[in-house]
Subunit: 364 residues, 2 copies
């Protein structure tokens, strides 16, 4: 614990709830476990509702006359149609279409955007672009702290605190709702595939009250503190910067080619690169794997994936699925093997090659 690794408005509550481990994302604490088996958390997330301290999803706010131009520079997704009320998942890249982050973009106004980011200092990239290009914008990290309610009963819980209107939000939709005498963005989103909401709390000091209100409202629904669940997010095809991809990968390799304007119509840094890749095709892409029947060890490095005697890619995130009673993985798979159903083997360090198959996402 030090000031360098920041606490969120919810960290005190998470500690009081018996957190047993943290990790660090964006220089900020992210709870990892609450002393229960992963299997128990997995089923609970699928059947009830959990409250996640995702304050580490830091917010980068870009405002000013050139804000839209700067945001468009950063992503090959056409953001000209971005509007109040509908978030967009945007790959952020360098000029070679190398992935730098994969935030959710919220357009708050014509000249005001927020990016809810994965684990890299996207504010520094935006700031560098703005200063280098002489753009008239401000790049800041506002006093905004996401809190997620995830799971099939999340709607009932969030509605009890913010009102029934939150239930009318479409997927990735957002609007302002009142709490603690202030208004906050609430979005139908989150880092699970079980449904849920993210509350973008405005004002650090309101954090404990918001946490308590949601826990209280969630009591009849069996709410528990939780955190992103590795087997669930792998099954759901939710990728992780640093685990599953980095600057050496393109949006196409993440299966995000469909989000990219490849016809040169969009003024992004990667315009030429995405047009070229779309024309020439890409040679590998993230896929699901299902392999083995005993739990694999912790995957702290990429594990080779084989198709017969040929190297066919590498597994980048691995967990044991309580539902499938098999290991599931996110893996970067070569074109030759990426068809769902392809038989492959995963090389588990010290434990040989475990047979399995390629899957689309979500892994069913």
């Amino acid at each position: 614990m030090s000031r360098r690794i920041r606490r969120t408005p919810y960290t005190g509550r998470v500690e009081a709830a018996g957190v047993t481990g943290f990790t660090v994302v964006n220089h900020t604490l992210l709870p990892k476990a609450f002393g229960r088996p992963v299997e128990e958390d997995y089923w609970h997330l699928r059947e009830a509702v959990q409250l996640w301290d995702v304050g580490c999803q830091r917010q980068v706010e870009i405002t000013g006359p050139d804000a839209a131009r700067l945001v468009q520079w950063m992503t090959p997704r056409d953001v000209s149609q971005a509007r109040w009320g509908q978030g967009l998942y945007v790959p952020v890249t360098d000029a070679a279409a190398g992935m730098i982050n994969d935030p959710v973009l919220l357009r708050l106004d014509a000249d005001r955007f927020r990016l809810s980011i994965a684990d890299s200092d996207l504010a520094l990239y935006a700031l560098g672009l703005a200063l280098g290009g002489g753009l008239d914008v401000a790049v800041d990290e506002p006093d905004v702290w996401p809190l997620a309610a995830q799971g099939p009963r999340a709607g009932a819980v969030v509605a009890a605190v913010f009102g029934q209107a939150v239930l009318e939000l479409p997927f990735f939709g957002f609007d302002r709702f009142a709490f603690g005498g202030r208004s906050h963005l609430v979005a139908r989103s989150g880092y699970s595939r079980q449904g849920g909401f993210e509350i973008y709390l405005e004002g650090f000091e309101l954090g404990p009250a918001l946490w308590d209100a949601l826990i209280e409202a969630g009591r009849p629904h069996g709410i528990r503190p939780g955190s992103p669940c590795l087997p669930e997010r792998i099954e759901g095809g939710l990728f992780s910067l640093g685990n599953d991809f980095d600057r050496r990968n393109t949006p196409f390799e993440l299966g995000l080619g469909r989000l990219c304007a490849t016809d040169g119509s969009v003024a992004c840094l990667a315009r030429d690169a995405v047009a070229r890749i779309a024309r020439e095709g890409h040679r590998r892409e993230l896929r699901g794997l299902v392999f083995g029947t005993a739990p694999a060890p912790v995957c702290a490095e990429a594990w080779p994936v084989w198709q017969g005697d040929a190297r066919a890619g590498e597994a980048t995130s691995v967990a044991f699925s309580p539902r499938l009673q098999a290991n599931v993985a996110v893996a970067m798979i070569d074109r030759t093997a990426w068809e769902p159903g392809t038989r492959v083997a995963v090389e588990v360090p010290g434990a040989g090659r475990w047979p399995g198959r390629v899957s689309a996402f979500p892994i069913d």
Copy 2:
């Protein structure tokens, strides 16, 4: 443990040596403790030699025809005189002179620079500036992994592995030395004030062999695995990004005004800002504090510092000094109280105001 939080070439050795805790810097593991009391590590560092896995000091390499121009954009320190063999400590700022990082700059060639960085994604800032400004450079993270030998006997240990010539390096001097059939930069530097060296290992796979060679050479000198020592670095006036300063602070507030070209002669982003601040003066600056006689609790948030009834600043890093038998702190202190010797009191959460005094660095 996950791929997102990177292991260094030395992590396996550190685990075998009984590490009891890690922190995360630059998305990379940094060992924090080896099961011994801080007091014991503190004296050992001052009297013998320790081997520190500082692979988390990631390297940003900037190469190309515009490399010197880009590096100068980033820092108000005049880097035109930077040359092979002599590292420079450079504040990196935004246009308002807000601190973004405080790396050590190594100039490898006319158009090739390396920055050994503190905990922020400086590569993204450099990349943004380059792309925004249309500069002809490449920004990369090379396969280079710092390892530090620190303490009064570090020279004997490093010389036993790399040769006696390392002992001729001046403070912050560097040169190439052979190990494992390759050459590596070795510098007289490190994050302690006890003297020592940093080896910029080129090639991840050589890490265990380098670790083993230094441990073996250090045996007669009582070498131990270690890590940056909080009371020692506070006494030494070595500041920490995220703990003691961030983008809200200027180089002047870190006492680095003397490094800044304030006469407008240098083409940095902060040129106007540093000239203005130099003209108008700054109102607060990092100082040492010595306070209390019982160990203070862990400082995970800024603690108010009082001069009588007036708020005089805040303590940002705190530790108990085994040598002084008092707490020492890095603190951002207002001009009215920053004179060494000034009587102040530190507000320790839940424990009242503890009397103390302001000190220059190093704290003697």
